[in-house]
Symmetry: C2
Subunit: 874 residues, 2 copies
């Protein structure tokens, strides 16, 4: 028979999957002789069994629980439901990973009309005993019976009003005895039965409630955001109660073995005498710093210091402890690796290496890559954020926090900022290249339209500027200089705040803290590079972004989207001339105007990259993206171009597409207009020759997008090679360059062996590859993906983390097929996934050469690459 | 060294790939002792070598040609360039498959200023010799030197005018001698050099011209339409000239061994004495039927009959022969399997079996599946089509020919037809479900918008009605009751004609011939079913189409698109109510109205299919397709629905998608609104129970579209199974049904092993699978695919024939993975490719169970399935 219940003394820390994190740690502490109140853990498998049976606990599991309870009673020398010295327990959920979305704790379980008297006797405090009982009734009703706890709060409030009591503590013993009577009557009325007096019944109900809480909406959302599989289930810990409020030799507290804010090595925490856990956090009495315990009770203090040192050494990481002193005896209720700020994480990891506790590799694994984000971007001051007014939530398009005055145009943003130097938030329906300067001066950008790959999002990420995009409930009127949200109106100059890491928008000023990159950061990054096998490049379209990425340690550019250059104000008109050209000759004339500008772009990029490879993707978007859509703009453009509105409208109409994602774009443009590829090649090669004159050694990598067929790549490669070689020959220089392709169309992955005949490198464009493999339009999927999460069809957003099973299978296939044809083929990724730690781990596993991500993700990617290679060395 | 040139006597009929069809047959005839003028073939490999060298013939090939020439001269006993009895040759292209797009023939090569005198002496006819020479100069200039032949025709016309000659034959000997002088002078003027006098130079130039013609635009188009790979190359045949115009004992003719129109076994052809091949087809002299040759020259006639019998027996097929009699000696210049009408093809194939020449299997292979189309649809009378005025070309959306008076509305079409019974063509911008009755009475349908899967195209194919869709150059004004094309206006009642097989539109009445299905057809189809392994089902959305398909031998429905039912006039309003519903309750109320109608639909389909399986695909298109787009329609609908225009517009706006192909459709709709799947299940199951009461045994197959993930399928399957089982239980009947999925998203193919855990069958939706695998939107790809053909990147339209390398790889993978999980899984295809013979062959090869196609493609698919299994038995 499967063992579903483990006494603490039967487990150990390696049994996390079965016992949950909390259970495994309680067992481990028990094993190594820590003073832990005894108890037992009902396993995660029991939870899965509960769901498999249609939400029923199997009789055999109940039997095992009862046996474990009996064994624990024996260990503690008390009896469940004893009217003199009752055995009371806490019931806590405990999944493999910490899960705030779930039921947390029921305390004092085992209390009933008899045992409450025993507790009163034991504590010498009738008021306390009945207060505990009424809290237990309320807690049990709330989390186990799903009775709205407000109903109980109302009874309490009425009692206080009757008695003229300001605080709960103003109520007397009898008041609380009476209140318990009222609570029980309410329970009877609402549930049609008496409040359960049998502690075993209470216990089984509470365990069931923990299991049930695994599937509540908050837990489901948390799991999705943190990639925790539903199949893991939760364990339940049942532990003997100890009381810190049995007089002045009792107390309770929490402590970290190091400072969780800055990582300094000093015991950090608080305690209160004659108190229960709740009181420490409730804020009615002010807890004392842990250091004062030495004065208050040196023996206990020394014992606690010894224990905390032992536990830190044992777990080889900073610990977060909960303890209770019951009548002079110290109990440890819980230990776990302590949560810490990014800054503290770095310091602790590095200190533990210095102290000889961890190797560099182990230290690297102690820092979560995604945590670094908060070091690189401003953050809200948590104290200040506390009660800030949340007015809407958009897409978390670019991380960091920003606060500032609203401006509805780039010009106005600049004016406001110049006027007094105070920060500004640029608010637009959507941004366009004309807004760039406004985006530079702004502390944050808010748009009401557009997704994670909209102009605002992409540009903001490149700059490291905080951005919340596509906040649909925010209705922006740029003309009226207002935005409305939920019936409230915000106007120019009003303060708002944005959290680009969560997408939250606050309707007021919230204090922010600057990004702080310490020496520890550099140390950790240098270790990361030492152990990583994947290279990290950046996606950058201009020298400004390239410089940021270079400073963050990018070893080249993995994706330069040339069309972003096309959008810039000084060249968009030449681009449009090219589009409305009636023949090749006119088109070439327009391209000739673009050539010197593109050449300058590339010169700038090459220079910033100081010899590291620069991968240039040729024109990708459908041409209609460069043309205006509003009637007024069309009118103005037609005038500029010297053509009639009818002609321009005809061009726009011709270019209209039903499914632009799957339309005339990428390599298909170059097949139709090889002269575009020719111009871009000229710019790439001429720029390289120019920069190399100054002694650099640029080796451009030319990347053809959206290829699905060998002959298609060959057609364009022939144009590229012919053009490039002629220029190189004429210039009498020796310049190496390579030509490769994106793998972003499923067919390219399927036929990668053929395509590698011509492609010297592959770069996985996982944005498009995900769209086409799933048949999802990223722009449209938002509408139905929510249903997919709610119905547990998807755990992860496939646009945030590579879908390893489907898209990943294509990537793996393409990598293997590509290497068959060309064993030394360079393999990279340049989709949004290139900056996502989970996806980076996958890229490492399938043998890619590099990942490329936006500049501010570079440090994260470097650390993630190190993690991947440490966990799974190549 | 590679052998690039073969004497006829060195080859045989198995060497078609190397020698081309014509060359292999000449060699074979030579081998079996037929009287063939000697010669040699330059191989297809030489053609490929020519292109590989940048359009140059290698010196070693020229050497081999010269050797073969010398050997042929020896065999014929003549010398190239001999001034007394010159050796003259014809030069003909000859690819593996017959290729009308290429250069055909140069006759009389070897003529020059000297040998023309020898020819005059030999024929005793100076006029003829110089006429041959001037024709040779003109032909050589045209096809070899690319000089416009009109320039020569002008000189001829001037000469005739000067001489007052009406016909060429009115010119005298000296006139032609002078004309040759003028032709040569023109050549000198245009090319800057004398007309080449060296016959060897003439020959090499002519061979080069044949190679060059392999890559001309006409040849490229023909290859694409007929799936002939560019890599095949063409061979060149050089053959000794014989003359049918050397007096009354000479002659020339062509003959088929059977009647190519109806297939009757009788020698069929024409001949002329004292004539060359040209004269037979030129129409100046009337050729005699071949039967009269018996009277004219019984010896030659008997010899020819004997030869033609021998050749037919040797090739085991009806032959198309060219012959020449030179001074009483019979020569066979060419033999090949004769082209024939579909009707003749059937009769000949069946007769050859009766005659014991072919087995049934061999006979089946003699009939091309696509040929059957012409038996099933009306065709134009070829004589009548001759000079019909072509006014535009649209998409060949549904085959057959139609002629009739233009009507711009369904009502008017019915009136016109009822008035006098004469045929009508319905002309619309695009059709909608309200046009159905008009489409039924019309002989053909013409639309100016919409593609191969537009409403008009799909419905017309189902009905077998001729349809030309998306003819962009035809501007239809339904209000004005006119259409304009190229500046001309057609109005109601004007006669036009459509060829749905080619997309051609004629601006006048063209006589048509009815479809004719004979007993031979039934015989052949019964053989086909005997040897086929793939089953053939049909795509049918209504009983009318289902009946047609059943009569054509469909063994079930492979695809019923339920949304087509939703579009019908009597239910669209309930569908719209469902869409604008504000909550589940309102939605369920609207669905309840649809239930009885859907149930009746399915009852009708089941009845027509008489117990064969019926596969019902659940709602697939995005919901916005059911809502109007024009402001007036929106206004009217809002009023009907009792909501404000603003509300309706908000719904339409919410439903708008950037890429609808990749949007909220297919299974995604059911995930969001499981109540739709529930209603459809209710209709499917209740209808089956109803029909089975009458003793039928319907086993519905429920098909979920657009699945890409197991859990997604499982979610909906659970809804289906729960609903279905409850109904079956309540009805106390025993009903079997199955639940399967389309494989149309790449991810489904990649994870088919998982998906087969729930799917009891797969049906490949190759339309969408092609779109997503290539990243092509079918609606948009038309714009750039032309460039892909022109640049030889694609040979075939991947929407017409399954892309075996890419899409096919996914299909093969999915089939194999599906069988791993569920060895007895049923595998089908229901995309447009299901009716395409090439794709059917592939489906057979990868082990599918059935193909499903539109009703009128069913016979074609049955024959193609037989071909596939005969060529590659399972």
């Amino acid at each position: 028979m499967t063992k579903f219940v483990y006494l603490f003394k039967e487990g150990n820390q390696t049994m996390k999957n079965l016992l949950g994190g909390k259970g495994a740690n309680l067992a481990e502490m028990s094993k190594i002789g820590m003073p832990v109140p005894q108890g037992f853990t009902v396993t995660t498998e029991a939870c899965n069994d509960y769901y498999a049976r249609g939400k029923k606990i199997a009789p055999e599991i109940i039997e095992q629980i009862e046996k474990a309870l009996a064994a624990t009673e024996k260990l503690e020398g008390k009896k469940f439901g004893d009217a003199n010295d009752p055995f009371l327990v806490s019931v806590r959920s405990g999944a493999r990973a910490s899960m705030p979305g779930m039921m947390d704790t029921i305390l004092n379980l085992g209390l009933n009309d008899e045992s409450v008297k025993g507790l009163a006797k034991l504590t010498g405090n009738t008021r306390f005993a009945y207060d505990s009982y009424r809290r237990f009734i309320q807690m049990f009703s709330d989390v186990v019976m799903e009775i709205d706890k407000e109903k109980y709060e109302e009874l309490l409030a009425e009692m206080k009003e009757r008695k003229g009591a300001e605080f709960d503590t103003d109520l007397g013993d009898q008041d609380l005895v009476d209140l318990v009577g009222e609570f029980k009557a309410l329970y009877l009325k609402l549930k049609g039965e008496e409040f359960p007096q049998d502690p075993k019944e209470q216990l089984i109900e509470a365990i069931t409630a923990v299991f049930r809480s695994w599937d509540n909406p908050r837990a489901n959302t948390y799991r999705r955001l943190n990639h925790i599989p539903y199949e893991w289930g939760t364990a339940v810990n049942v532990q003997a109660m100890v009381f810190g409020n049995m007089g002045d030799t009792s107390g309770t507290g929490v402590a970290f073995t190091r400072n969780p804010s800055d990582g300094t090595k000093v015991l950090y925490g608080e305690y209160l005498f004659n108190a229960q856990g709740e009181d420490v956090v409730a804020g009615i009495r002010t807890p004392k710093p842990i250091s004062e315990l030495q004065k208050d009770n040196e023996g206990i203090y020394n014992q606690f210091v010894e224990i905390s040192n032992k536990l830190e050494a044992h777990y080889r990481d900073m610990q977060d402890l909960e303890f209770t002193i019951q009548k002079g005896k110290l109990y440890i209720l819980q230990t776990r690796n302590g949560k810490r700020t990014a800054q503290a994480a770095l310091k602790i990891a590095i200190d533990l290496v210095k102290e000889g506790v961890l190797t560099e590799k182990e230290a690297l694994l102690k820092v979560e890559p995604s945590q670094l984000d908060s070091l690189l971007h401003p953050q809200f001051n948590p104290a200040s954020l506390g009660k800030a007014k949340l007015i809407a939530t958009g897409l978390n398009a670019s991380p960091g926090a920003a606060t500032g005055r609203v401006a509805f145009s780039a010009d106005r943003a600049k004016e406001l900022k110049e006027m007094d130097g105070l920060p500004v938030i640029l608010v637009r329906q959507e941004t366009s290249p004309e807004d760039i300067e406004g985006m530079i001066v702004a502390s944050g950008i808010l748009t009401s339209r557009g997704g994670m790959t909209s102009h605002a999002a992409v540009v903001a990420r490149g700059m490291g500027r905080c951005c919340v995009a596509g906040a649909g409930s925010v209705r922006v009127s740029e003309a009226k200089k207002i935005f409305e949200v939920n019936g409230e109106t915000y106007k120019e100059g009003d303060w708002i705040s944005l959290d680009g890491s969560t997408g939250k928008i606050y309707g007021e000023k919230v204090e922010t803290m600057d990004a702080t990159v310490s020496g520890d950061f550099e140390t950790l990054m240098s270790w990361a590079d030492k152990f990583a096998s994947l290279e990290v490049r950046t996606n950058a379209d201009n020298p400004r972004d390239a410089k940021v990425a270079f400073d963050f340690g990018a070893k080249g550019i993995g994706l330069c989207r040339t069309e972003h250059m096309f959008f810039e104000a000084d060249r968009i008109s030449s681009v449009r001339e090219m589009i409305v050209a009636k023949n090749e000759e006119e088109r070439k004339a327009a391209l000739a105007k673009l050539l010197p500008m593109q050449r300058e772009d590339f010169i700038g990029l090459y220079k910033e990259m100081q010899g590291f490879p620069v991968t240039i993707r040729y024109l990708d978007p459908p041409l209609h993206e460069f043309l205006p859509t509003e009637a007024d703009d069309i009118k103005a453009l037609a005038k500029d171009m010297g053509i009639t509105e009818k002609e321009l409208n005809a061009t726009i109409n011709d270019l209209h597409e039903t499914n632009p994602m799957l339309g005339h774009r990428g390599v298909r443009l170059s097949v139709t207009y090889p002269e575009i590829a020719e111009m871009q090649t000229r710019a790439v090669i001429e720029a390289a020759i120019e920069v190399n004159k100054s002694g650099m050694s640029v080796k451009p990598e030319i990347m053809i997008p959206l290829v699905g067929e060998l002959k298609e790549l060959k057609y364009i490669k022939d144009v590229v090679v012919k053009t490039a070689n002629q220029i190189i020959k004429d210039a009498k220089v020796d310049l190496k360059y390579s030509v490769g392709t994106m793998i972003e169309v499923p067919r390219a992955a399927l036929l990668a062996d053929e395509i590698a005949q011509e492609a010297e490198f592959f770069s996985f464009g996982t944005n498009d590859l995900t769209q086409m493999t799933f048949g999802f339009s990223r722009d449209d999927a938002g509408k139905f993906l929510k249903d997919y999460y709610d119905k547990k069809i998807f755990v992860n957003d496939p646009f945030a983390h590579v879908d390893q099973k489907g898209v990943g299978k294509l990537m793996k296939m393409a990598s293997e097929l590509g290497k068959q044809t060309r064993p030394d083929i360079k393999l990279g990724i340049c989709g949004e996934h290139g900056g996502d730690p989970l996806s980076i781990e996958f890229c490492h596993a399938i043998g890619l050469t590099y990942v490329s991500c936006s500049p501010f993700r570079v440090p994260i990617a470097r650390l993630a690459a190190a993690h991947a290679n440490i966990k799974n060395p190549r």
